[in-house]
């Protein structure tokens, strides 16, 4: 068991290191921040001076080693645009993203599991057809289109809710709705199919044969087991949303991590890109690690099979 844990933690560290390394190399190949930060046509000497000031004239391998040494100490450098520590800026935006992601996940999972459960239990009924059609639509609708539709209807036409920004609970409603529809759609489809799988298992037949009431069979026996893949999916979705739903945040002028990263990519603000990607990678890999560590507790067979 302890070896399994150490292996998984080791793998997670390698994954984070790999991600930040790839991003480090790719960003440096794609553009020159010094040129973007100064007005076009600035004399070359001044561009070179800024490049030197930012430490970009050094060989890439030196820049990389310097980056690694500082990063392990938590220092991701000063943002080129904002003149402030990059990690501070990313962390400053994290609460906005966390609130948006957290609320959307909770709401989406509740609606999604209910819909998925009903669809599986009432298989072949009009209820299943409706739930699954809505879920399919929800999953196929581009998030930004849905966002704009909601803004136009509830924000512009009805005037009930703010069209964007973050000043009150009301401004949370539309972006959460947008994201939770997506989450609910994903969760309901997955939960339905895994519930159907569980319902066809022998132990369910046994439980039914014993004469247990359907409610107990569905929730206690089938439902519990069917939840395992859903838990995984929810964890992954959470990590993804926490990493910043760039599109939703842009459409709703939400001051979160995703929007900050988009802007940093446009401006080649390397320190922010690195700090942001590092944080997302840690959240993502950390969540996966957590799932891996929890699995053996849920289902002993997982440990044996390794």
């Amino acid at each position: 068991m302890s070896r399994y844990i150490i292996e998984r933690i080791g793998e997670a560290l390698v994954a984070v290191w790999g991600i930040v390394t790839i991003v480090f190399v790719v960003t440096r190949m794609l553009g020159d921040p010094a040129v973007l930060l100064l007005p076009l046509g600035t004399p070359e000497a001044q561009v070179a001076a800024l490049r030197a000031e930012l430490g970009l004239e050094r060989p890439m391998i030196i820049q990389y080693l310097d980056f690694l040494v500082r990063a392990v100490q938590g220092d991701f450098g000063l943002s080129y645009q904002f003149f402030r520590p990059a990690m501070d800026l990313v962390l400053e935006r994290l609460p906005a993203t966390a609130i948006l992601a957290g609320t959307s996940i909770v709401l989406g999972v509740i609606i999604g599991s209910l819909a998925g459960f009903v669809a599986a239990v009432r298989r072949g009924s009009i209820l299943e057809f409706l739930a699954m059609t809505v879920a399919l639509l929800g999953q196929a609708t581009p998030v930004f289109w849905l966002g704009i539709m909601l803004i136009l209807y509830f924000g512009v036409n009805l005037g009930w809710l703010p069209t964007g920004g973050w000043d009150s609970l009301a401004s949370l409603v539309l972006p959460v709705l947008t994201l939770s529809i997506f989450v609910a759609a994903t969760v309901s489809r997955l939960f339905r199919s895994s519930m159907l799988d569980a319902l066809s298992e022998d132990y369910v037949r046994t439980a039914r044969a014993k004469g247990l009431p359907p409610g107990t069979v569905y929730t206690r026996h089938a439902g519990r087991n069917a939840l395992i893949p859903v838990v995984t999916m929810v964890a992954i979705l959470t990590a993804e949303l926490l990493g910043g739903s760039a599109v939703t945040e842009t459409v709703f002028s939400w001051p979160g991590v995703g929007r900050l990263l988009l802007q940093a990519i446009e401006n080649k603000d390397f320190p922010i890109i690195q700090a942001g990607v590092f944080l997302i990678a840690v959240i993502f890999v950390g969540t996966n690690l957590l799932i891996d560590l929890i699995y053996p507790l849920l289902d002993p067979r997982i440990r044996v099979s390794r």
Binding site: I22, V23, L30, D32, V35, L36, L37, L38, L40, G41, T42, P43, E44, Q46, V47, A49, Q81, F82, F83, R84, E92, R93, P142, F144, W145, I148, M149, I151, L152, Y153, G155, V156, N157, L158, G159, W160, T163, G164, G165, W166, E240, G243, A246, V247, T250, V251, F252, S253, P255, G258, R259, L262, Q263, I265, E266, K268, V277, I280, A281, F284
Partner: protein, 511 residues
């Protein structure tokens, strides 16, 4: 995860816009208008994030510099009419060819009582000039040799040679309190003599300003100014229609008419100071040393048609120069190359070029208005005169690396503007010494030198007349049009429209 972010980044803006068009068309605009803002609050939508409050580092006029203008005072400012007026400066005049003298208004103080006098002005300019400050604006003061305090209300800025555009450049410089600077961070805090003071700054989201009771130079006109960062154009339109925003810019062209018709808000456009051009690399074959070929390309492109078809008439064709009428040095006498494919073909023949001629057209994406569409139209029209332009679309950041590194391809589409609205800066982009000139023409350079060599406006105008005429003749670019600058206002007031990116609460007049 990484790929996800970049693919989202690529997918967002374009598709969002076209979808919004459909959405706005479909959506019924009838319904209750809920306006929560009071009459005394002005809400301005900024199109991109405010990076810093530090005026020493502020460069982007539409965001950072415009924010600074509310919090701090410059010596001079440019009004919507394009003319400079004194803010801290009472008057100013050149002294020969090597100095400018500024007379300051007496008795101006920072909120804590420290004087904003000649000494403070000198301290601020010297601070920017000091390499240790690492100010990104330092190059503006390269021609300055010394700042001299003559008296508390007089400051003399000595220059290495004539610097005729110094006052224009100073309209983008704001003054900090030396005393306050010792213990504060100007990137996130503000303490100035502007009409407003900082109430709240939520990074990435909004800035709330309230009147600065101690302002003596420019009076606040609203009880509160809220600047909200709304990067997505369709969201700005929605905010305007919902009554949440009073002033917004860079709206999709196709929404301008729709906003007007909605009855909920007003919209309009002005020609901006940014000229769209197809740059030609006149240092590279086959465009090098081949004026006739370059002229032919200008005849081959239908600028009028492009403005009609692409911009729905919202645009003005460039008058054979990269300057728009807003610039000092604009040449009234020049006329656009007419659309004449026959003449183009003939010139190509005279130039000794055998068609079809293959040529590359670089189109940087994500920065210039409708870049992709313009690129395709240009390529299509060049095709008709036997030039096969291969479009190479690339990310702006990647493209600019080659462009600024003297490695531009044969042709590239771009928009150019210069914040001081003076021919010196704008035409200077084509001076041979400039790394992005891709043009090396003695008569043109000499005319520029003549313009820079004097502070006499009449002589300068004459010099720029020569320079623009020469550039029209030599055609280092295909002159296209001035990019339209769209804006929208709520019913609360009217905006004194200007096309030079400045966003000022003082430009809004309440009804």
């Amino acid at each position: 995860m990484v790929t996800k972010i970049s693919s989202l980044a690529g997918a967002a803006p374009g598709s969002l816009r076209s979808l919004t068009v459909a959405a706005l068309l479909g959506a019924s605009l009838a319904g209750a208008l809920a306006s929560s803002a009071s009459a005394e609050t002005l809400t301005i939508a900024l199109s991109s994030t405010v990076n810093t409050l530090d005026p020493t580092q502020a460069q982007v006029v539409g965001t950072d510099v415009s924010v600074a203008t509310h919090l701090y005072s410059p010596l001079v400012a440019r009004g919507p009419d394009g003319k400079l007026y004194g803010v801290l400066a009472e008057s100013w005049q050149p002294e020969g060819d090597s100095a400018w003298l500024f007379n300051l208004k007496p008795g101006v103080t920072f909120p804590g009582g420290e004087p904003l006098d000649a000494e403070a002005v000198k301290w601020n300019i010297d601070r920017i000039r000091n390499p240790e400050t690492k100010s990104r604006n330092r190059s503006w003061f390269d021609p300055v040799s010394e700042v001299e305090v003559v008296s508390p209300t007089q400051v003399r800025i000595k220059t290495k040679g004539p610097y005729p555009t110094l006052p224009d450049q100073l309209s983008m410089i704001f003054f900090l309190s030396p005393e306050w600077m010792k213990t504060h961070n100007p990137a996130t805090e503000a303490y100035g003599t502007g009409p407003y003071k900082l109430k709240q700054f939520v990074a990435g989201d909004r800035l709330i300003l309230e009147p600065n009771d101690k302002a003596v130079l420019e009076k606040p006109t609203f009880d509160e100014v809220s600047m909200r960062v709304i990067p997505e154009a369709s969201a700005r339109v929605a905010g305007l229609l919902a009554g949440e925003v009073d002033l917004a810019f860079d709206l999709p062209l196709e929404d301008v008419e729709r906003i007007k018709k909605s009855g909920r808000a007003d919209a309009g456009w002005v020609p901006s100071s940014r000229s769209m051009v197809v740059r030609m690399n006149t240092l590279k074959a086959p465009l090098a040393g081949n004026t006739k070929l370059r002229q032919a390309l200008n005849y081959a492109v239908d600028k009028e048609g492009m403005v009609e078809a692409l911009l729905g008439g919202l645009g003005t064709v460039s008058q054979c120069q990269i300057l728009t009428p807003a610039y000092f040095g604009f040449n009234q006498d020049l006329k656009p190359y007419p659309y004449d494919p026959a003449k183009a073909k003939q010139l190509i023949k005279e130039a000794g070029i055998t068609t079809p001629l293959k040529i590359d057209l670089e189109v940087p994406l994500g920065r210039y208005f409708m870049a992709s569409e313009i690129g395709q139209i240009v390529a299509g029209q060049l095709q008709e005169v036997g030039i096969e332009a291969t479009i190479k679309e690339m990310d702006f950041g990647a493209w600019v690396k080659t462009y600024a590194g003297r490695d531009m391809g044969q042709m590239a589409l771009l928009g150019q503007a210069w914040p001081t609205l003076d021919a010196d800066g704008m035409l200077g982009l084509y001076a041979a010494a400039n790394p992005t000139a891709y043009f090396d023409d003695k008569p043109f350079d000499e005319a520029l030198k003549a313009g820079r060599g004097t502070t006499d406006p009449a002589k300068r105008l004459e010099a720029y007349k020569t320079a623009t005429a020469r550039m029209c003749e030599e055609a280092p670019v295909i002159f296209l049009f001035a990019q339209p600058f769209t804006y929208g206002t709520s019913k609360k007031g009217t905006w004194k429209a200007r096309g030079d990116d400045w966003v000022r609460a003082t430009d809004v007049v309440t009804k």
